[in-house]
């Protein structure tokens, strides 16, 4: 397991989400106001960029086909997606966000 700095806390204001690229992988950082979450950045249905979707509380809606996921655990709330999003542990330290990466990295979009 490795710990990686992903962004500054201020990069993701309350109620928003943003994609960050780390070592060719894409991560979605979400700030619900209560806490930060980090998930894989592409929808498990068709690969849509989730950062362009809508965030309502802790429910994230995919911008392409409107699948919904719960950001706290990545679970599917509404299809067409069947599979949950990978979720990564995230910590805040000195205004910076760090994520813990293990073997289950999001799939690369392009090799």
């Amino acid at each position: 397991m490795t710990i990686q700095r992903i962004c500054k806390k201020d990069d993701v204001p309350v109620g928003s989400m943003k994609q960050f690229d780390l070592k060719e992988s894409e991560f979605l950082v979400v700030n619900t106001g209560e806490r930060f979450y980090c998930l894989e950045a592409r929808c498990t249905h068709a690969g849509a960029p989730l950062a362009e979707g809508d965030l309502d509380g802790d429910i994230l809606t995919c911008p392409w086909h409107y699948s919904q996921f719960r950001v706290s655990d990545g679970s599917v709330v509404r299809g067409p997606a069947n599979n949950p999003l990978n979720v990564y542990d995230i910590t805040v330290r000195d205004g910076q966000l760090f994520i813990e990466l293990n073997e289950t990295r999001p799939e690369l979009l392009i090799d």
């Binding site: 690969g47 960029p49 979009l109 392009i110």
Partner: protein, 646 residues
């Protein structure tokens, strides 16, 4: 009316207006053969006897699905209690696809009929077209010579075309079959020839507060067999799957991963990706990159922007290269290698088949001046060097020899031995002839590029000679195009010796193309005068082209309309001269200005209205998008450079 979105596949480009109507339909080349030419392929809705065309009275929003060339429009009509959502795309096999979802908002079950009209002008005119119903496929086919368009569809319940009509248009007493649709019933006339059009309808029964889905497509081909086969393919695979493939294709295309965009604000990342996709929709698979697919400008001068200006194309190629999209730029250079005149220059503009385009540059210019804009030649050579500098693909350069050898000879020959400047030609704005700071700057860049090519590939002695020529040109620019009194570069020197002191944003070329450092005093004063004289002091802002610009002038209260490209040149200057991260802020603000003034879909026009911010002139303009991409790439490069120093 600006185009809200453009979808395509390199052979087809389809452009939509704000009413979700198709207004331009190019096939089989992007930019050549507009089979709609600004006429309208409309969508209408009939609900329990009430008929409305999409447009007036509807609330419509059109965007792209993020990171794709698949558009998404949402329309609602409060009086009809209905909401519509469409997705449009062109798949890789030359089928235009539309998915249309209808939501019955009412609390009662209702019957819906959806209408599509087809006002094709095949090969650009309405003479000798045929439209017919094809019973075996239950499809409607428009054709003329080698162009066939087959229209078909199916509802999610499996029902095909419900009714159809073919008929006559643009004739006395014959408005077109679209009129036939307004009673909700189509006549079923099976064939018409001449100036013709068609309409088809689909019927759906929707329960209260339920959604129905309709899939509709236009298959394009050169004969009946081709379009019937495509129709069968779509029926077999399904539009849902074909749309998904288009979404995935474009998402994979635009996410090259060569550049980390994470440090940018979200709206700039979005506009950057949209820009690349919109530029790509204007790039023909055989290399040409047209300036704009918007044919509405035809109302202005009976011609369009659907040509390849090699200036615009070269700048787009530079943007593609900087962003990592070398395939598209290489196709463009190959196109140029075939299109270049024997004398080594590029003509005013070209059609996508490589033939010389229409022109308004007179042959009998002053003192034997060629009817060209020399920067169009210079920028291709410069862009090619930039390409090589990044990719080092010497074998590719060898495959486009004319772009180096012929252009070099031409640019050298076209230097005036008396002044050291290029001989007169037309300017980048295509309004005046003379010797322009913009043109001289691009020729300087091209001679430098030529010198480097000669050093790498051909002959080192030639390298020295070309370097000397470039240095001589730079010196001549300082002597004749720089005004010591105002301490800035001027717009032009004319053949009669007069100097044009108009403050013109195109003087930005002195740093854009490497002639002078962005921090050089001469450049700083030039850019300060541009900013001071041309910034539009309204709530819209932005930079005008030059003082008292009359082209499409919207108001006499300001000096001209704001242009995207000019505003982005100012951004690039702030970026180029930044010495610390803090000094990059102004450049980013101007990039944000461009993103903010694009349409919701991300489309950038040529200009915007100085008071309303609405698009003016063609929309989209590839050059606007290319300058946006270049500015973002330069920003990122400078950010990295300054961050590493810190």
């Amino acid at each position: 009316m600006p185009r809200e979105t453009v979808v395509g596949n390199g052979r087809i480009a389809v452009a939509f207006d704000s009413k979700m109507s198709i207004r331009d339909f190019f096939y089989p080349r992007v930019g050549l053969e507009n089979h709609v030419s600004g006429h309208e392929l409309k969508t209408g809705l009939w609900v329990d006897g009430d008929f409305r065309w999409l447009g007036d009275g509807w609330e419509i929003e059109t965007k792209y699905m993020p990171e794709t060339l698949v558009s998404r429009s949402r329309a609602s009509h409060p009086a009809l209690d209905v909401q519509i959502e469409t997705n449009d795309a062109v798949n890789s096999q030359d089928v235009f696809l539309r998915k249309l979802m209808v939501r019955n908002v009412a609390k009662t079950p209702r019957k819906f009929r959806i209408f599509f009209t087809h006002d094709f002008h095949i090969y650009g005119d309405s003479v000798g077209d045929t439209v017919m119903h094809e019973p075996a496929q239950n499809a409607v086919i428009h054709y003329k010579r080698q162009r066939y368009f087959l229209i078909d569809g199916v509802t999610s319940e499996g029902a095909g075309i419900y009714q159809f009509a073919t008929g006559y248009k643009e004739l006395p007493g014959r408005e077109g079959t679209w009129k036939d649709a307004e009673d909700g019933v189509l006549s079923g006339n099976p064939i018409a020839q001449g100036s013709v059009d068609s309409a088809v309808s689909f019927e759906m029964d929707l329960l209260a507060e339920s959604i129905g889905t309709l899939y509709y497509w236009i298959a394009c081909g050169r004969n009946l067999k081709q379009v019937v086969e495509l129709d069968s393919m779509v029926k077999k695979i399904g539009v849902e799957q074909l749309l998904l493939e288009s979404e995935n294709y474009w998402s994979a295309w635009v996410n090259k991963k060569e550049i980390n965009l994470s440090i940018l604000p979200k709206e700039i990342i979005r506009t950057y990706k949209n820009s690349l996709l919109i530029m790509r929709s204007h790039a023909d698979s055989r290399g040409g990159i047209i300036a704009s697919c918007d044919s509405d400008i035809m109302q202005f001068n009976r011609d369009t922007y659907s040509y390849i200006w090699t200036r615009d194309g070269a700048i787009a190629a530079m943007a593609f290269d900087m962003a990592g999209f070398r395939d598209t730029s290489m196709r463009f250079f190959r196109f140029c290698n075939l299109a270049i005149a024997d004398e080594g220059f590029f003509h005013h503009k070209y059609s996508p088949d490589g033939s010389v385009g229409s022109s308004w540059l007179p042959l009998a210019g002053s003192k034997g001046m060629l009817p060209i804009e020399e920067d169009e030649t210079a920028l291709v050579l410069y862009a090619l060097w930039r390409h090589f500098q990044k990719y080092r693909d010497i074998e590719f350069i060898e495959s486009v020899p004319k772009l180096v050898l012929k252009t070099t000879e031409f640019l050298l020959d076209y230097l005036d031995p008396d002044t050291g400047l290029p001989k007169p030609c037309f300017d980048l704005w295509e309004e005046r002839s003379g010797v322009f700071t913009w043109t001289a700057s691009t020729v300087y860049a091209a001679l430098n590029a030529a010198a480097k090519f000669w050093k790498v590939i051909y002959n080192r002695e030639r390298f020295e000679a070309l370097n000397i020529a470039a240095a001589g040109l730079r010196e001549a620019m300082l002597k004749r195009l720089y005004d010591p009194e105002s301490q800035r570069f001027i717009k032009a020197v004319y053949p009669d010796g007069s100097r044009d002191l108009t403050v013109d944003s195109s003087a930005s070329a002195v740093f854009l193309y490497g002639g002078f450092d962005a921090s050089d005093r001469s450049v700083v004063e030039t850019m300060n005068s541009i900013r001071d004289k041309l910034w539009i002091r309204t709530r819209v802002g932005g930079l005008a082209r030059y003082e008292n610009d009359e082209y499409q002038r919207a108001s006499r209260e300001v000096t001209g309309n704001p242009w995207f490209i000019c505003t982005l040149w100012l951004a690039r200057w702030h970026i180029a001269q930044a010495k610390s991260s803090d000094q990059l802020v102004k450049g980013l603000e101007l990039i944000s200005w461009a993103a903010k003034h694009a349409l919701a879909s991300g489309v950038m026009a040529e200009q915007v209205h100085p008071f309303t911010g609405e698009p003016v002139s063609v929309s989209p303009l590839v050059w606007s998008h290319a300058e946006f991409v270049i500015a973002v790439c330069e920003y990122l490069e400078k950010y990295r450079e300054l961050s590493s120093m810190a």
